[in-house]
């Protein structure tokens, strides 16, 4: 039996094509996923992301605990409402999940984790808490729904629906969140566009979703979400990295704080595992197929592999994220095996597109 978000009936009423996504019955698209993609790049689209889990960590010493539990350094969070992207690592340095952590108060942090890994993450955090900080309480917030409203017009449309929250959020900087009544509004996203991610009580989700639709926000499914995040050069857990992969070989070195003297889970292992591969983008030059995960990449310095590939609606070309040997440089051509052919692809530095524009020549 697949799990359902509070918006499941609304998706079906819109004629969404539904798929099993990490055990959840989720919309992949409502019509053309390319049209949904363009709506986000050009205007405003919304995604039901209620399958993701918010967990509240409360109690004295919450920050100290997260300094140990997370690979990124929560000491970067100096202002209430500020968000930080981080990996949750295992002791061997493998990536258990990627997440966003919000600093809400001295003894209160909110962590948002992926749907498919939520149970594993909570169990892992409880184990760490029991060993390191048993005074902390971890509360799963399945009572909340989450809707991401993304695109150049997204914030304006949210204000149309929540006029009372305009003052509270108009000056909100990227990667900041604020509570406004029953809404928790963050200027974050997974598309490379401006917008908000809004958490609200689950029973209010359908009304909010329908009000946004009436305000001209287009419902978008997981299909568009994937092409948008790939264009934006953002990793997808389970595809671009997982517990068997080194974050330093997954484009996540910027989130792993090896510089500070603090100890954290996985640090010792990573110091013993210097990266031997790099994580970088590919643009398919021979337009005779589509880049997909697990395709082999042949370079002058050895073989690599595509981790995520798709067709980019913004570039009208196929793009990918890939793990390649160190030393292969942007601008170089490599060969990707697609079915029975070896096609030329160019190495490029992500992102491929952001804020409505292609970043690739």
């Amino acid at each position: 039996m697949l799990k359902q978000t509070p918006l499941n009936t609304a998706h079906r009423a819109l004629g969404a094509k539904m798929v099993d996504f990490g055990g959840w019955d989720m919309p992949v698209s409502y019509g053309s996923q390319i049209d949904e993609h363009h709506a986000v790049r050009r205007d405003a689209g919304m995604f039901d992301v209620s399958h993701m889990l918010a967990v509240d960590l409360r109690g004295p010493g919450a920050r100290d605990f997260l300094r140990y539990a997370l690979a990124n350094n929560v000491d970067k969070l100096t202002v209430r409402g500020k968000a930080l992207y981080s990996c949750l690592l295992a002791h061997d340095g493998g990536v258990l999940d990627d997440l966003i952590v919000y600093f809400l108060d001295d003894d209160w942090f909110r962590i948002v984790v992926n749907a498919g890994t939520a149970d594993k993450d909570v169990a892992w955090l409880r184990t760490l808490i029991a060993a390191r900080a048993p005074q902390l309480a971890l509360n799963e917030r399945r009572d909340l729904a989450m809707i991401a409203v993304q695109g150049p017009s997204a914030r304006e449309r949210v204000w149309r629906v929540l006029p009372g929250c305009r003052d509270a959020t108009a000056a909100l900087k990227p990667f900041m969140a604020v509570e406004c009544g029953e809404h928790f509004i963050a200027r974050t996203g997974y598309t490379g566009e401006d917008g908000f991610e809004v958490m609200l009580p689950a029973p209010r989700a359908v009304e909010f979703w329908e009000s946004l639709a009436a305000a001209g926000v287009r419902p978008c499914g997981l299909g568009a979400r994937d092409t948008l995040r790939l264009e934006a050069g953002m990793n997808l857990y389970g595809q671009d990295m997982d517990e068997h992969e080194n974050p330093l070989e997954s484009g996540l070195a910027w989130t792993v704080d090896l510089a500070s003297p603090r100890d954290f889970v996985g640090k010792a292992a990573l110091l013993q595992r210097p990266p031997r591969r790099q994580f970088i983008g590919l643009l398919l030059i021979d337009k005779a197929g589509v880049l997909r995960a697990h395709q082999k990449v042949r370079t002058a310095l050895g073989d690599g592999e595509v981790t995520s590939g798709t067709f980019s609606p913004t570039l009208s070309a196929s793009i990918a994220l890939a793990r390649l040997p160190l030393g292969v440089a942007p601008g170089e051509d490599v060969r990707v095996t697609i079915r029975d052919k070896e096609l030329v692809a160019r190495v490029v530095k992500p992102p491929f597109a952001r804020h409505g524009k292609s970043l690739v020549q």
Binding site: V28, S29, S32, Q33, I34, T227, K287, A288, G289, V290
Partner: protein, 128 residues
């Protein structure tokens, strides 16, 4: 589900129309384009290529996935539709007017083994 009654079908989601000259026009069904989603790449067999029945001979790729197209019967390729190669999304817009390729069958009688509209609808689990 849109399954025209004047066409023949395969369980692998090709439609087949027999033309006056005996050639077979082949495309993918509306159900197939719906399941694949937005098509972005199509590769067709070269004119003159000889195909065995059931041989994988073309590829359609959507944003989500790649799917092989199979020769419904044995024959040789006599035409390919360059328009759908240039604009794969046309197949999403109308799967039955945007054909992929034409085949001259080795035996015209081989089409008797193909599904009719009701048979195809049943094969994809749709009673209507």
């Amino acid at each position: 589900m849109n399954v025209p009654s004047d066409l023949k079908y395969t369980a692998s989601h090709e439609w087949i129309r027999t033309e006056a000259d005996g050639a077979l026009t082949i495309g993918i069904t509306d159900h197939a384009q719906e399941a694949l989603g937005d098509l972005v790449f199509i590769e067709l067999p070269a004119v003159g290529r000889v195909l065995a029945a059931g041989e994988s001979c073309a590829v359609v790729e959507s944003v989500k996935a790649a799917s092989d197209i199979y020769a419904p019967v044995a024959g040789s390729v006599v035409a390919q539709n360059d328009a759908v190669v240039a604009a794969p999304e046309n197949v999403n817009a109308d799967a039955y007017s945007n054909w992929l390729f034409k085949l001259k069958p080795v035996n015209a009688a081989d089409t008797a083994g193909l599904l009719d509209a009701a048979g195809y609808a049943a094969s994809v689990g749709d009673a209507g």
